[in-house]
């Protein structure tokens, strides 16, 4: 009880800090200087209609690389924590009988989900959404497959290959930016094209595709590992 009162007291002061922050917040009437620069030059420098994408992939591309790395790390850590083994993915251990209806529904729906995912990250530079959202959607497709059929063999190998290749591609594009253009992850490796076209915005669609694939693979990896972990007998 005393502890709860202490916590409430502590949080009251945290509330005070937030109140300070709230008081400091005055809303915005105009853009900050950095944002203003992006608004004015983003389209011409990067060629992406979606400025958020322009920032995420190009201006702050290093953050995105770090972000992808975090998911990558998480997947790697989870698989070694849960003592992941290839054998666990062999579809010979029936855990649960699934309804045939769900199974066949999944077979119809999953390809659609994949298509949607791919669409989202391919169009990341034009419309809302991008690699992360698309990747998440693809992962949810994988999830559905696992739910429908727990014995579904998410081939770890395939996932690993997709993950690795897209990761390497991301880094390579970054390095090519140094060699061929102005710096690491420079967008102007490819022509910027016409604002609003699918094939525009330099390497953004390419990067976002790889990010999407990589995020999709990483998330599937995480989900697959958790769902297939066996309960140790002890």
């Amino acid at each position: 009880m005393i502890k709860k009162i202490l916590i409430i007291g502590v949080l009251a002061v945290v509330g005070l800090i937030f109140f300070d922050l709230f008081n400091a917040y005055q809303g915005n009437e105009s853009l900050s200087k950095t944002a203003n620069y992006y608004a004015e030059n983003g389209a011409s420098q990067v060629g992406a209609a979606n400025l958020v994408t322009a920032i995420v992939v190009t201006y702050r591309g290093l953050d995105t690389l770090g972000e992808v790395t975090i998911l990558f790390l998480t997947a790697a850590i989870i698989s070694f924590i849960l003592k992941f083994r290839e054998e666990d993915f062999m579809p010979n251990r029936s855990v649960r009988v699934t309804s045939e209806l769900l199974d066949s529904a999944a077979q119809v729906i999953v390809p659609v989900i994949f298509m949607v995912g791919v669409y989202i990250f391919m169009n990341g530079h034009l419309t809302p959404g991008g690699g992360f959202q698309g990747g998440a959607v693809i992962a949810s497709g994988v999830l559905l497959m696992i739910m429908a059929n727990p014995n579904f063999g998410v081939s770890h190998k395939v996932i690993a290959v997709v993950e690795s290749i897209s990761g390497i591609a991301f880094v390579l594009i970054g390095v090519l930016g140094i060699v061929l253009a102005g710096g690491f992850l420079d967008n102007t490796l490819l022509p910027l094209g016409k604002l609003g076209d699918l094939f525009s915005a330099g390497v953004i669609p390419v990067i976002y595709t790889f990010v999407g694939l990589k995020v999709g693979a990483e998330l599937s990896n995480i989900i697959g590992t958790i769902s297939h972990v066996q309960n140790e007998k002890n």
Partner: protein
């Protein structure tokens, strides 16, 4: 030049690539990881080299082809190059060290490892606030993964605690960053620093949030339970990384963001750092788990570094060298210690006794411990020196006390630990395998410590004068440590003799130094000669003995404060290792070290005051202290008195000297103690003795000296242990010296010198001979000896001569000392103290009689019938010293007259006048040569008479009359000299109740109890640790911004 961006690209590329290896190429992963880390090390190393050799501008790396603040930019300057380099080096070596663990866990773990090191590189290089956040997150997640390389419940719990705490911290940081962006319109760190957000009341909140989260990442006390547990539970290889690499990166982040808030915030950082430094070290004192202990120590060191950053306004341009020295020592020593811990895998620091199986590992351990405490020649020594002196120059007394107190507390547990490793009796020493991939990194870290230490020496003011020549000799002796004793002994003696010739021209004309150099070097040669009686290789003895002598002679040679302090610490380190060699010396070595560190810090404080008085680095600065002069004199005197073992500071001596090896006792007693005397003499000569403070100090010291003498002699009289008796006798003799020089007159000082020279000679003889006898008979106890006069006539004569000197009986030089002494006392008018000393002098006869009687006279013990005379190698130096005593006794004027002349300028009146062999004072005269001739004649006549009578004496064989039928329950009670002074003890024993020991014991209990009480905050609940984190934020907020 390979661009720094390739550090990221290559690390990530390899990490991503590992996923492709599959089963068939799985074995490639570890080599790919090592290659990646090697590449990263190479890139940062080449930049470091570039910045060190060329004066080139900072390299900025723009990503995405745009200029900041519109895109993220990285920066590679000299400091970034340094930090990335040390991170990558420890990353590479750590990977070597963890090679098998990583391999066992599989490629996933290697990816995590590689990405972890990469993220720290980016954290150092990035100039974008949000990018910093992202890569800090990468680092924490990777850490949470690497903790689980150890598959234990504890590791899981620690990881969870870590995740919860860092989850809260990163949330706070994120809010801070977004508001910083809101206020300044930029995420670029340079823009944020320029925005001066600390100035406005509304914007300062963002500054607060960023500071508090970065500080929390550095695990400030007491909101750091989550961090400690990581150190405790994780694989020590990971502990090494977190301690060396993560902490360095975090420290650099704080440095990078330091100007964010303005000067006011520096104070908070300094205070938090100070609390962390002291608090965390205090926690360490009650700790028995090695990894956890290292965790506390790591956090303490980072606290010290935080404090240095906080004081950067005060430290000015010196901050760099200070922080560098302390950081690099922490980095290398902590990594090395964690790695050692991983080798030994003991659950308790007592298990480190296993290190004894490998002298090399013990050497490494010692290196790391001494580097952490800040002994020379390690970089932390120079860092601490600069830190304390610079703080003194700015009048920051409180900070100086904090730093020295924290360092001392750190010494408490580190030296306890080292003592365990060197000496602890351990029934079943745990076995450990020595694999080259684990040893190699540890060696590298030790080499780094020595190399950097030498490298920074000239950067410190006055440091270029430091003489590394003797240390090279020590190093050489280390290298030949496998050779047998007689070779090393000859080399050592040769080295000292060579140094005598080397140093004589330097010191010629400076009699004071010449005398002490003579004591140290001649004494060194003579005591070393006894070493020829030892067999085997005596591992570790010679380097340490030479280190002590190097320190001793360094003190003599020193012309600057830093040289003096450098040598002083060197001597302390060497003598510590010598003392702790004795069979039962562990606790005594430990208390010797604690008193020595305490004393050294007192000296450091005093020197800092001297330096700060008029920015003079030379030893002459002691002569013009105008900052708190009384305090400075007192601290210096106390510091030197820890070595002379004056009353109150003496409790280490009897054990340390009594239990030491037979030829170490004379070294540490006859020779080492004189270092303290030399220090006091230097101090007294330089200080302004007309000032009120100095006069009072001298008066107090006079009393301390008198009481020390009384206490020492009484304790000696009641001893049954022969070597302890001699040890207490040393305490008493040093009391005489202290008293004599406190008189501050020419006569007093002459007496002091006479006592110093006498004590050197007779104590060397006594410890050599008695030590030899003790070793021969296999017992320390005098009641188990007896009748040795016939077995060891040469020893008897040596002891007899020494006793005559101690007793001050004519014709030997002891009488000269006494005569001068009482003249000085009467001249000064210190009658009370003089009476005490006189009384103590009578007691001295008691123990002297006991000593010679119970060893040499009386019944020969049954089991000693076949004992032979002690080794000639012990007798030869003793007899050389006896010759010395005879010369000094017969011709004192050859030494005392020049000393008197030397002292003349310092003291107003020349009270001792020499006419040929006759010395005259206002109270009388004395002629050593004449006395010698008279007494010698009388003696010879007596001897002749005795010899003439001896033909009539009848010899009776000794019978065993002690027991008729049964053994007595306590055989010692049948010995006449056992408890011989029971009556006196009854009457006067209360005077030597070990009050001082009790005082220090209760002090240390107090500290330990306090630590024990305080550490209840680390109750183990992860939720409570989260509350601590939030509480830290809240309290910091209330203090910094809440007007509290």
């Amino acid at each position: 030049m390979v661009g720094p961006i390739y550090i990221i690209a290559v690390a990530l590329g390899i990490a991503f690539f590992m996923g492709l290896f599959g089963k068939s190429l799985k074995n490639l992963s570890e080599w790919a990881m090592l290659a990646g880390l090697g590449f990263m090390t190479y890139v940062s190393g080449q930049w470091l080299l570039e910045f060190m050799s060329n004066n080139r501008a900072v390299e900025t790396i723009f990503t995405a082809g745009f200029k900041p603040p519109y895109s993220i930019n990285l920066q590679m300057g000299s400091i970034e190059a340094f930090f990335t380099f040390i991170i990558n080096v420890v990353g590479f070596l750590g990977a070597m060290y963890l090679f098998k663990d990583l391999k066992k866990t599989g490629p996933n773990a290697m990816m995590v490892y590689l990405v972890f090191i990469m993220s720290l590189n980016v954290v150092v290089m990035t100039r974008d606030m949000f990018n910093l956040f992202v890569f800090l997150e990468v680092g924490s997640i990777a850490t949470a993964g690497l903790i689980l390389l150890t598959k234990s419940g504890e590791a899981l719990q620690a990881g969870m605690k870590y995740l919860i705490a860092t989850g809260i911290i990163s949330g706070v940081l994120l809010i801070g960053i977004i508001f910083a962006y809101y206020f300044s319109g930029s995420l670029n760190i340079d823009d944020l620093l320029a925005a001066n957000m600390g100035a406005s009341k509304t914007t300062v909140i963002a500054v607060f949030l960023i500071y508090v989260s970065i500080i929390l990442e550095l695990k400030p006390f007491p909101a750091n339970g989550w961090g400690i547990d990581v150190y405790t539970a994780a694989n020590p290889g990971i502990g090494a990384l977190v301690s060396a690499a993560t902490a360095s990166a975090g420290f650099y982040v704080l440095y990078k963001l330091l100007p964010l808030g303005g000067a006011e915030w520096l104070n908070y950082i300094a205070v938090i750092g100070g609390i962390t430094f002291v608090g965390s070290n205090l926690m360490g004192t009650k700790q028995d788990r090695p990894n956890r202990l290292l965790g506390y120590s790591s956090i303490g060191q980072i606290g010290l570094l935080m404090m240095i950053l906080g004081l950067s306004d005060i430290l000015g341009e010196k901050m760099m060298i200070i922080a560098f020295g302390i950081l690099i020592s922490h980095y290398a020593a902590k990594a090395g210690l964690f790695w050692l811990s991983g080798l030994i895998q003991a659950k308790d620091i007592k298990g480190w006794a296993a290190l004894r199986k490998s002298p090399f590992l013990l050497f490494l351990f010692g290196t790391f411990v001494f580097a952490l405490i800040g002994f020379p020649p390690f970089p932390s020594f120079f860092g601490k020196w600069e830190l304390i002196t610079t703080l003194a120059a700015n009048g920051q007394w409180a900070w100086m006390v904090t730093i020295l107190a924290g360092s001392f507390i750190e010494g408490i547990y580190l030296f306890r630990w080292l003592g365990y490793a060197i000496k602890l009796d351990h029934e079943d020493l745990p076995d450990f395998k020595i694999e080259w991939n684990k040893i190699f990194p540890i060696w590298i870290m030790a080499i780094v410590l020595y190399a950097v230490g030498v490298y920074v020496t000239p950067m410190v003011e006055g440091g270029m004068f430091i003489n590394y020549l003797p240390l090279m000799f020590v190093l050489f002796l280390f290298a030949i440590d496998f050779l047998p004793v007689y070779i090393k002994n000859t080399i050592s003696i040769g080295g000292i003799i060579w140094y005598m010739f080397h140093i004589y021209p330097v010191l010629e004309g400076d009699l004071l130094r010449l005398i002490f150099a003579g004591i140290f070097l001649v004494g060194g040669v003579l005591t070393l000669m006894a070493g020829y009686s030892k067999k085997g290789t005596r591992k570790g003895f010679y380097p340490m003995a030479m280190m002590m002598f190097a320190g001793l002679i360094g003190i003599i040679e020193a012309s600057t404060l830093i040289e003096f302090f450098f040598s002083w610490e060197l001597m302390t380190a060497g003598s510590y290792f010598l003392i702790i060699r004795g069979k039962r010396s562990m606790p005594h070595g430990y208390s010797y070290m604690l008193f020595s560190i305490g004393g050294a810090y007192a000296i450091l404080f005093g020197f800092a005051l001297a330096f700060a008085s008029n920015f003079d680095t030379s030893l002459a600065a002691l002569g013009s202290i105008n900052l708190l002069p009384t305090l400075a004199y007192t601290l210096l005197a106390v510091g030197f008195m820890t070595k002379t073992a004056s009353l109150g500071l003496h409790i280490w001596l009897p054990g340390a000297h009594g239990e030491a090896e037979s030829d170490v006792s004379p070294m540490v007693s006859a020779i080492l103690l004189k270092a303290g005397v030399f220090g006091l003499m230097i101090l007294f000569l330089y200080m302004d003795r007309t000032s009120v403070g100095a006069t009072n100090l001298l008066y107090v010291l006079g009393w301390v000296g008198a009481l020390t003498t009384l206490m020492g002699n009484m304790s000696a009289a009641f001893q049954e242990d022969a070597k302890r008796l001699l040890a207490y006798s040393s305490v008493a003799q040093l009391g005489y010296i202290l008293f004599a020089i406190s008189i501050m007159s020419q006569l007093g000082w002459l007496a002091g010198f006479t006592y110093t020279i006498n004590h050197f000679m007779f104590k060397a003889i006594l410890f050599l001979v008695v030590g030899g006898i003790v070793a021969k008979l296999g017992t320390h106890y005098m009641y188990e000896m007896g009748g040795m006069i016939k077995k060891m006539p040469f020893s008897f004569i040596a002891v007899l001569v020494s006793i005559i000197v101690i007793g001050g009986i004519p014709p030997l030089s002891g009488f000269a000392g006494k005569w001068l002494f009482y003249n000085a006392v009467i001249e000064k008018g210190w009658y009370f103290q003089g009476a005490i000393i006189f009384f103590a002098g009578i007691i001295a006869f008691l123990y002297l009689f006991k000593l010679i009687h119970s060893i040499f006279l009386g019944q020969l013990k049954d089991n000693h019938r076949n004992i032979k005379e002690i080794s000639a190698w012990i007798l030869v130096p003793s007899y050389i010293l006896i010759i010395g005593i005879m010369i000094f006794s017969a011709f004192p004027q050859y030494i005392l007259q020049p000393i008197g002349d030397m002292l003349a300028p310092y003291f107003s009146t020349e009270t001792l006048v020499w006419e040929g062999t006759k010395a005259t004072t206002s109270l009388g005269y004395w002629d050593g040569t004449t006395i010698m001739i008279v007494v010698a004649t009388a003696f010879l006549l007596l001897l002749a008479w005795l010899l003439a009578l001896s033909s009539k004496t009848k010899k009776i064989e000794q019978f065993n009359i002690v027991f008729a039928a049964e053994r007595p329950f306590r055989p010692e009670t049948t010995h006449v000299s056992y408890n011989i002074y029971a009556g006196y003890k009854k009457a006067l024993g209360f005077l030597i109740t070990p009050l001082v020991t009790a005082f220090w014991e209760s002090m240390s209990n107090l500290v330990l109890e306090f630590a024990n009480w305080l550490r209840r905050i680390y109750g183990g609940s992860m939720q409570n640790y989260a509350i601590h984190v939030v509480l830290f934020i809240v309290v910091f907020y209330l203090i910094a911004l809440g007007g509290l």
